[in-house]
Symmetry: C2
Subunit: 277 residues, 2 copies
């Protein structure tokens, strides 16, 4: 891998994390930060955050309702139920998730735990970068995928200037890139990337943190994402989902000549590769 990347590279394997994604960090931190009197929880999620909230809620004896687009990955919908979450169907558009959430909250007493646009979530996701920096103090850059921006903004906070954060997005879901370039949150186009964990729109708080830290955002094509996914499977022998391959693809084509070590956060492994032989 060091040869392929032209520098020393470390991987933070959040695909091997509980529920197979970094999302469990933020979900658990958010639940542990709720008042003791709070009851059941609800969120909207296309997958990993929902599974993470279900897992964390079960640990703490709460019910978790997950408003989930019917077109979300079957693999991820199944995981939400396997961890004890209760699926509530909604349409694929972000606006439909919001509407479904408002209807739900009018009918039931539950605390909304947002997927990324919340300080407790951001703080939880930041622990991945905190561990990285503790493990590899000489790290120069942490490369992370950006969906809603929880992982990236958490990385900025956790790094605290000790190393740079490089954000990465699919060209087909580039709202963070465009919002940061414009200096204001731009509405997300209906995104279609294979990186199904990165289809959310950048959150407001996440945007402010990334903008203040001048985080650059690198873009990669769908083919680059596919190739990087399979590369990790083949060389590291670990399963990552396409969203995790976005910073891998971006770092692979980074042509700055430097010997500084970098780290890539492999955000999750919730995908089902096919056995073709």
């Amino acid at each position: 891998m060091n040869e392929l990347f032209g520098r020393e590279v470390y991987f933070k394997c959040e695909n091997l994390q509980k529920v197979g994604a970094f999302k469990v960090r933020g979900a658990l931190n958010a639940l542990l930060s709720l008042p003791a009197s709070s009851g059941d929880v609800v969120t909207h999620s296309s997958g990993n955050h929902g599974a993470a909230l279900a897992w964390a809620a079960r640990k703490l004896g709460k019910k978790a309702y997950v408003i989930c687009p019917t077109n979300a990955s079957r693999f991820k919908r199944d995981a939400i139920e396997r961890y004890g979450g209760i699926l509530v169907d909604c349409g694929p558009a972000i606006a439909q998730r919001e509407t479904a959430l408002q209807s739900f909250l009018q009918e039931r007493a539950a605390t909304f735990v947002p997927p990324y646009d919340h300080a407790d979530i951001i703080a939880g996701q930041g622990t991945a970068t905190l561990e990285l920096i503790e493990d590899v103090p000489q790290l120069r850059e942490v490369w992370v995928p950006i969906g809603g921006g929880g992982l990236a903004s958490g990385a900025v906070i956790a790094a605290g200037g000790r190393c740079d954060v490089v954000g990465c997005e699919p060209e087909l879901a580039r709202d963070a890139h465009d919002s940061l370039a414009a200096g204001r949150l731009l509405p997300s186009l209906p995104p279609t990337s294979i990186a199904d964990g990165l289809l959310a729109s950048l959150g407001q708080l996440n945007f402010e943190i990334l903008r203040t830290a001048h985080v650059p955002v690198r873009l990669v094509s769908e083919d680059e994402i596919r190739d990087a996914t399979v590369l990790i499977w083949r060389v590291l022998k670990i399963v990552i989902e396409p969203s995790s391959a976005v910073p891998v693809a971006a770092a692979l084509k980074d042509d700055r000549s430097t010997d500084d070590p970098i780290a890539i956060i492999l955000s999750g492994g919730n995908v089902e590769p096919k056995l073709s032989v």
Copy 2:
């Protein structure tokens, strides 16, 4: 995984080993056991042993020639070359490998390093089980796939009676099962299993070791192998090749009620899953 198997289960992840398979243990031990004056080496292999010998030979400044069936996995043929091995084509039948080897040895000065039927290879492969027993002293059984029998016979020697060895084979490549039942080495039928690392015929020395230790051999179907392969990918988030899934499949359907912990050796990860989304 403990829930799925109904008992405590440990995995020895030889898919994460150098060259992605346990084979590097035997190859390196065999090369290090050669006289200092010995030169280049040759073997026949459908894949992982060839890659392992190439890797080990390069470490020691030797050339490695690998007689390899032209119908071997493209993935494994590429790996042999990537590690610096020199491919020598032969036909798919075991007899054709032997003929090609004899022709090669008449033309060139090289030392034959057999893939499994040799004490130094068996001793090397046994170190996987030695490490397992050191890590998990309360282990009751080690489940291993059987191809030529190097890993299984090494496990018997390394276990030294401290835990049992359970061998596992595809129903479509059951020569070890049938040979041990008959009490004599039976000729291998042309095997066709998806577990392409287990198509070799049981070796003579391997047979003697397994027979003396009364090693049982469990059989699994092709569908069971496929399901177990994908199960490991999905739950453990690591890439194993179908050969590694043979003992997984066998242990999954083992219905003895016992709480004793077992270990499964995941023999290799040299396969290329497909990204289907």
